[in-house]
Amino acid sequence: MYPIQTYRLTLWLPVAVTLLFLFILVFYSVNEYRHRLLDIKEVSRIQLQETALQLGHSLEYALANNDSLHARSSVARFSLRADAQLAILIDADNVIESSSYFIWQDQPAEKVLDAELLHYVKLARSQKRYIESSNENEDLLTFFLPLLEADQQKVLVLQNSIKKKLETAKTEILNAIAPLLLLITIANILLIFLIRKLVIRPLNALQHLTEQIQNQQFELINPLKGDTEQAQVGQTLVDAARQLQSHISILTENEQRLRITLESIGDAVIVTDAAGNITRMNRVASELTAWPEEDAIGLPLLNVFDIYQADTGEKLTNPVDLVIQNGEVVELSNHTVLKARNGVSYHISDSAAPIRLDHDRGTEILGVILVFTNVSNQYRLRQELRQSVDFLKNLLTISPCVTYILDIKQDTTTEFRLSYVSESVIHYSGHPAEYWLGQPEVWQQSVHPADINKVKQTLLTVLQSDKPVSNQFRFRHRDGHYITVEDHLSVVKNDHTHKLQIVGVVLDISEQKHTAEQNALFGEILEQSLNEIYVFDAETFQFIHVNHGALINLGYSLEEMQTLTPLDIKTDYNFSTLKALIAPLCSGETPRLIFETNHRRKDGSQYAVHVDLQTAIYGEREVFIAIIEDISEQKQVEKILSQERSLLRSIIDSSPDLIFCKDDQGKYIRCNKAVMEFLATTEADIIGKTDFDFYPEKEARNYRHSDQLTLQHNTSQFYEEAVYGAEGQKVLFETLKTPLKNATGKTIGVLGISRDISRQYEADKELRLASLVFENSNEGIIITNENNLIITVNPAFTIMTGYALDDVAGKNPSILSSGEHDQYFYEQMWAQLEQQGFWSGEVQNRRKNGKTYPQWLSISRVENAQQQLQNYVAIMSDISKYREAEQKINFLAHHDVLTSLPNRALLKDRVGQALISAERHRQKLALLYLDLDRFKFINDSLGHAIGDQLLIKVAERLSQQMREEDTVCRTGGDEFIILLPDTDADGAGHVAQKLVENITTPFEIDGNQLFVTVSIGISIYPDNGEDAESLNKHADTAMYRAKQAGRNQYQFFTAEMHSQIVHKLELEHALRFALARNELSLVYQPLVDIKLNKITGAEALIRWNHPELGSISPLEFIPIAEETGMINPIGQWILHTAIAQCKQWVDAGHRDLLIAINLSAVQFNNPLLVTMINTILHEHQLPADNLELEITESVAMINIDLTIKQLKSLADAGIRLSLDDFGTGYSSLNYLKKFPINKLKIDQSFVFDMLTDEDDEAIVDAVITLARSLGLKTLAEGVETLEHLRVLNNKGCDFMQGYLFSKPVPAEPFFNLLNHPPVGNLGVD
């Protein structure tokens, strides 16, 4: 083990901790810094992208409105954004159109941008997509956005510098780690202080203590206190010193004792250290080795202890090395010779043991103690003894006999204990000597039970006899068989032990005995055998011996026979032929010779025999032994058998069935011709082989299996087996397998007859399949007979139509007809069926429950072999589900899944249609882009489920507000598009306003009250684009502007349209409050009777002064009031105010003053007009003839009948009537005649131009003439100069009004006017 390197705690502990902390800190900071940089870059990139897209939208809008100033200031405003570096707009010619640096404006881009940026500009322009780039330091982000508006190919370049942000991030990180650094420093100082206090001082004290112990000062005091590890170490040192002191004294004493002991013992002792060097030896050792202790100490052991193997003289391994190697005691070894220093050798016995620190084996070996004794004398004696024992042992080992010794106990002579048995007992008994000696009594159990008493008796006999006795008995071998042994026993008296012993020698005689018995048996058998056995001399051929059977058969006596030779009884051979026959036998070529011949009896009769001839040695001479069998009967039977077999064979072979026999191992025994043909081989090649030789393994195993089944059941069995023939043809066999029995009735194999049933099987199969198809088909099947009456239907038909087979059997399939197809349809169908044999098509049929459904029907004519009509088969599939699915798919393809609103595809289609229609009818249409303003927030905070529900509700609310012809579409997310066909900007504005207001009503979803607002962008066809694409784009841009402008509002694509509509709606809105807020007022313009030079009337004119919008012309707001219906309350207010005012003036003395009030079309068409006016007149107590109502010519001409009726009732009420703006429209004089009016007003446009335009003058003349002819008065409007007055006066105009007299003035100044003549000097007479 290596010592542990130690380090200075005071230094390394704080340094390590500090470094660790610093490392973590630095790692953390660097990581944090990098993450923050990435975040900053990503956020900046996204911000820039959004800014660019916003700015892009804004610019496109500005460009669409040709508002380059707005574009410039938008670009300039970019510089206000944090991090903004540069914004420029480059036009198609690469000239900078706008820039956040004004000095760059109108400069070529090449001058200010580097090549890379220019490259991106071109790329963005050509690819029509935005591009992002950043510089090498990644602190400048640049965004290139091509503006696609009107193909101007402008590119917006925005650049952000995030350098500052990156630097700030760095500083922040540094600032964040500074306090940590300080903390670590303080913690380190504290750590050093603690280490000094806790570790270093106790360590120094302990060091001092150890130095004292080193200086052998054992009386010590523990300098440390407290229950601490350090104090314990101190105490241990003090205790150790004390113990050390006592151990040293004990050791000194032991040393003395050991020395005395060593010197006094008789054995030689050498002690070595662990390295094998001698550290001590006693006197005896010195004498034996002839080394004095002083010389020996320190020498390696072998120098002194020079030992050899006694037998071989080889030098021995150092026992000390062995001990050290093994760590164990090396025991006495008796064959060692020690050579002393002086040359004398001793036989010694030695042993060596390790010296350990402790007795425990695990501890280290300090040295070895070697003990040895001079054994030279004992060694010699033992040597001699061993030689004689070895001799005896060898003797016994080589003997085939087993020698044993039985000890006899003196007191009980019947117990014979085995005390010795020679090794060879293993051959006799199978057990080794040790086995027998281990259990001295057990030998008796192996003696044959029948012999045991004899053996015991013999033993007793031997004891009493002086002579040896022998005995035979059987002895059991270990493997169970008995051997016969002969035992020779004699008694020996052991002088030494005074014991009686029986010594026995046993010999195995089993073999001899067995042979003798066998010979006797065979002789008898041969003698009695019915077969003839002859023994005759090889030389002379003279019979030597014949058995009893032969004698009887031949009819000779033995004595007669011995005079004969085989030639005498074999008629077929003479000497030479016989000699030739047996020549091979004589030469030893064959051991035996078998042949058939005839023998002649003594009476001359002959019989066929079978001869088996062998040579043998009989005594000293060579003889032949012939064994003869009489085979005459056998021959006869064979002949009959052969005839029958041949007959059977021809029957079997003529069978077309495969007939075969196999033995119980599956080997073919026989087979017929059919089998041979099937396997295309000969019978010889079949027999002896198995199915595995002819068929694939799987099939062969099956055949084998069925064979075995047959054998097991032991009855005939049928099997269907598919078999592959030699030519590979697959044939299906029906095989009958029957157990094959031999003559004794024992089953020896299987007889099989296989019949080819392939054709039958195929037919069956087809039939089954057809039936299966019929039963399990999903399509309904009807089969009719030739008269088209239903024979059968399948279950699918029943499921489909509801009719069971019983319901329809025997009926015509027309019961299914729904009646939706006409006669012609069926005629066509039948015609095709008859001609082509087949018809298919879609038909509507009726189910049993009366419902009709679409089905696909196929009908086939089925003809028999004679081509006569046999059946009709109709196959029908219900396609109602398919139709439904088709409709659903169709719906899904054109609708949004969530809201079921039309999707973008359908919208596109509708927009296309609407555009065509709008173009044809010169209508407008509006496209509204809606975007929910707070939807993302709701989705993120409340979850998608709520978001989805909100979208559904919003969709519902939007749809509710639309007309039928409008299309509301959801294009995904929170965006909706609404198509309003035949709608102009005004209408679209109204709709948008309504939507914006309506959507703010909170939505109630799952207990949440959700408030959303919408931003709507509107584009109008054809003002903002003539195709769907530009309308979409512009509506989107407008929507974006609505968002930018603060959401919850709508915006038109162009500012002009927007401001017009907004202004109009603003007016509309303001007008609703105008009455209530007293913003309306009346002014009065004098009507002057020019003849009288007097103001005889006042035309009440309405004025609207809005606090913010200023004064608004009636021309502007009256149409709006008419549109919105506000005209009714306003009209009433005018009537009230004007009539009340007139009443004041009348009361002030101007009794005849006429108040003229204009009626709008809406008012005039009100059937309650007369009643209302009467009520008001009554209310203010103004006589009806002080009131004059003016209607314009165009109003009067709208519905002439109504006009006449209305005017009449007004006239009847005494109210005066005048026709305003006369001459501007076209009036039929016919009707004019019927109007009960008092006055025609000549429009100011004619009056104004009358002096310069002859046409106008002609009109004025005509009007005045017409009025006169109808008995009406005339009033000229817009009289501004005296010239006007003069001319009109000359033409005979009755009344005038205009700036010449006064502009319209409020009531008070008007009253002042009343008292003065309107014209000081008329300049006319």
Partner: protein, 315 residues
């Protein structure tokens, strides 16, 4: 010889204290301007590299309205403005300070009219484009006074200066109250100058406005800006030709035109500026404020002192 452990500790302490004392740098000063000859000395200073561009960011916007708007929204720390705009700012934001007078209009603010209008009286019934600012209203009031017309006699179209050319050209207005160089360009296009700031009773003054917070937190940058401005002012005096060449392209006029333009502006030098600040500015502010109150452009009276920088602050 110091023990190594101690040495490491001392190093750590020094390092830690160094990083902890990392000083906070000033935020860049964002100055909003519009193209106007009076403000161009700021750009001249930038062109002459008197500024640290990272620290002083001049933002070029199109109109005064935008500049004021951005300032109100806190997107700018300092803006160039007409005095009346400054006062309007001060009405809603009490921490506004005027720290520099750029110029005193000496004919640079003008009424430009369509050539068909030959006299001020002919303005009656016409549409006049006016920026809804103090100067605009002030000019308009003085024009009407000179024309002896009432405000109801004309219709007022609210505009910003960058729209003037467009509006006149498209006959959306008949006259505009504008200022150079836009006015000058209009003059070149054939429109007539009927009235200018020399005819005004109180001077039109352009000033540099900032907030108290900027004065406190961005003092160094502001000082640098002002120093740069004064150096540029000297440069204009000493190298007028080069200065004009540098300035003119930004206003998209020639140097000759620019020179003419500067004749219509008084750009007070440092000593003069000091004098105006100490002696006259208060009075000017008060008179302008009164005029604006009369015109309804200011709702409450302003303490003119609050607009001026404490004398102790050395700028």
């Amino acid at each position: 010889m110091m023990r190594p452990g101690k040495r490491i500790l001392y190093l750590l302490v020094i390092f830690a204290s160094l990083t902890a004392c990392n000083s906070q740098t000033e935020k860049p000063l964002r100055v909003g301007t519009i193209p106007w000859a009076g403000y161009e000395l700021l750009y001249l200073a930038r062109d002459l590299q008197y500024y640290d561009n990272a620290q002083i960011q001049l933002k070029e916007l199109a109109t005064n309205t935008e500049v004021i708007h951005a300032f109100r929204q806190g997107q700018l720390d300092m803006v160039t403005a007409t005095l009346d705009s400054a006062l309007q700012l001060a009405e809603t934001q009490s921490d506004i300070k005027i720290i520099l007078i750029f110029n005193i209009s000496n004919g640079a603010d003008k009424l430009m009219v369509d050539p068909t209008i030959t006299s001020l009286k002919a303005l009656k019934g016409k549409r006049v484009g006016v920026e809804k600012s103090g100067v605009g209203v002030y000019m308009l009031a003085q024009v009407l006074k000179a024309a002896e017309l009432d405000s109801s006699d004309i219709s007022i179209v609210p505009t910003t200066v960058n729209q003037h050319s467009f509006l006149l050209k498209n006959q959306r207005v008949d006259a505009v109250i504008s200022f150079d160089p836009v006015a000058y360009k209009l003059q070149q296009q054939g429109y007539i100058n009927l009235f200018d700031s020399r005819q005004l009773p109180a001077p039109i003054v352009d000033v540099l406005v900032t907030r108290d917070s900027a004065l406190k937190l961005q003092q160094k940058s502001i000082q640098q800006l002002l120093e740069g401005y004064w150096k540029a002012r000297n440069y204009l005096t000493e190298n007028p030709q080069d200065a004009l060449i540098r300035i003119a392209p930004r206003l998209e006029i020639s140097t000759e035109e620019l020179e003419l333009l500067y004749q219509k502006l008084i750009l007070p030098e440092r000593e003069r500026q000091q004098y105006i600040f100490n002696q006259q500015l208060k009075i000017i502010i008060e008179s302008v404020a009164k005029m604006m109150m009369d015109a309804g452009l200011l709702e409450k009276e302003l303490d003119s002192q609050q607009l001026l920088v404490d004398e102790k602050m050395d700028l």
